[in-house]
Symmetry: D2
Subunit: 136 residues, 4 copies
């Protein structure tokens, strides 16, 4: 299992008139947490994309347990439970506030695809090598 | 079953550098489609909220089948399969482009809650009366 | 002078915890109003971009006079006061609510640029021909 | 003069199909930079709002000089040139990338207002005391 924690400060722009973070704004939090997660492995998603592999999102889920609020310093946990064998990768996320209360959980499924041909591909070899030690 | 169709034009702001609509931007489309759906029943969500009942989103799902693109005129189908008995309501959504190709499907679960006490409540009686004919 | 009016319904996602439309969300309204404005001339910005001319925004201004609120049906007025001679085009916007009260005014400056070389260019000839009658 | 620097990492969600940060997404960057700026003084905007003073944005300006791109680690400079005497406060912003190239400049004017009565007010005394040393 590979797990990372990323801090995100809630912006005013992300709240709605209910006084809480609007539900769809958790997904950019998850996205930036995944990016930081890859960065901790010594790579960047940006580089991967420049090398011709893109990762479109094909499915998302999110459960909202307690509201996140303006200026909350959230911890976004990113969990990779399995090393992907094929074109599909599944990330789990958990959102905690500063009191370590669980606010939301999410699941994001992405594909590895070649940017030029838009054909499914597999995880780039270098990323796989960085991740492998966490799954043996 | 109660079903409505709402047109949404994709904004440039909603695309990302993959040249497609960013995945979280479907949720505001779904939200506006639900609002239009309630409006077609002769009410508004805004009025419901002013009357003290709010509908926080407690769970979302979305599957992305084909990308939506800038300036696409999307049809967002809103489907209510069951009249809710308790505090929970479940909406299904389908997204079609102008060629009537299915681009995405979604499911949104919301609660009826009292704005002042934040206690669970049931669907306001007037909304129920407007919906009932579609489920008999 | 070339002027168009575009209707935009405020989404819940666009409000903030002050109970009003968050200030930056007026710019996507302006953007979609400009797109509709070009569409009324019988063209689309999307087509222009496919033909190799992009229009990056180089300067924006907005004054907020009265707040726009959730579910407001806004009229976004788009005003082109002068036919651009060079690579620069200046749009003015006004935002009105259903009571025809002026809520905000904006100014957006964009450049015409070649997508491939990122060199400044001028307004595509076809768009100019469609606009010319309004300025003679 | 009171000046602070805040780091912001560009999210994928904030890019558009031109491959750059969409123009309106600089304003939430500015907003979070102002929030961090107040935090460095030992206060928070969130607390100020809880104490009954809100700061609606009444005017914004932004000039885009060079594009910001996905995953760029931006420095948002926040500059307060004058200590506000009345209900109005003016912030200047500058955006730099990691190569210290200036990408954009902005100006945001906000009012101090009482949340309950929506009447104009002045800067809370405690904030003024924290700021005063920078202007003497």
């Amino acid at each position: 299992m590979f797990t990372t924690n990323t801090l995100v400060r809630v912006r005013y722009a992300e709240t709605d008139q209910m006084g809480v973070v609007y539900h769809s704004n958790y997904f950019p939090y998850f996205e930036s947490a995944r990016a930081e997660s890859i960065r901790e492995l010594g790579m960047t998603y940006a580089d991967m994309e420049k090398a011709g592999v893109i990762m479109p999102v094909v499915e998302v889920q999110c459960r909202y347990i307690r509201p996140a609020r303006y200026d909350d310093l959230l911890t976004i946990k990113t969990i990779l439970k399995e090393l992907p064998l094929h074109h599909k990768i599944e990330f789990f996320h958990e959102v905690y506030n500063e009191q370590e209360v669980l606010l939301a959980t999410g699941k994001i499924i992405l594909y590895f695809m070649k940017a030029t041909s838009m054909e499914k591909t597999v995880m780039p070899e270098t990323l796989k090598q960085h991740l492998a030690p966490y799954f043996s």
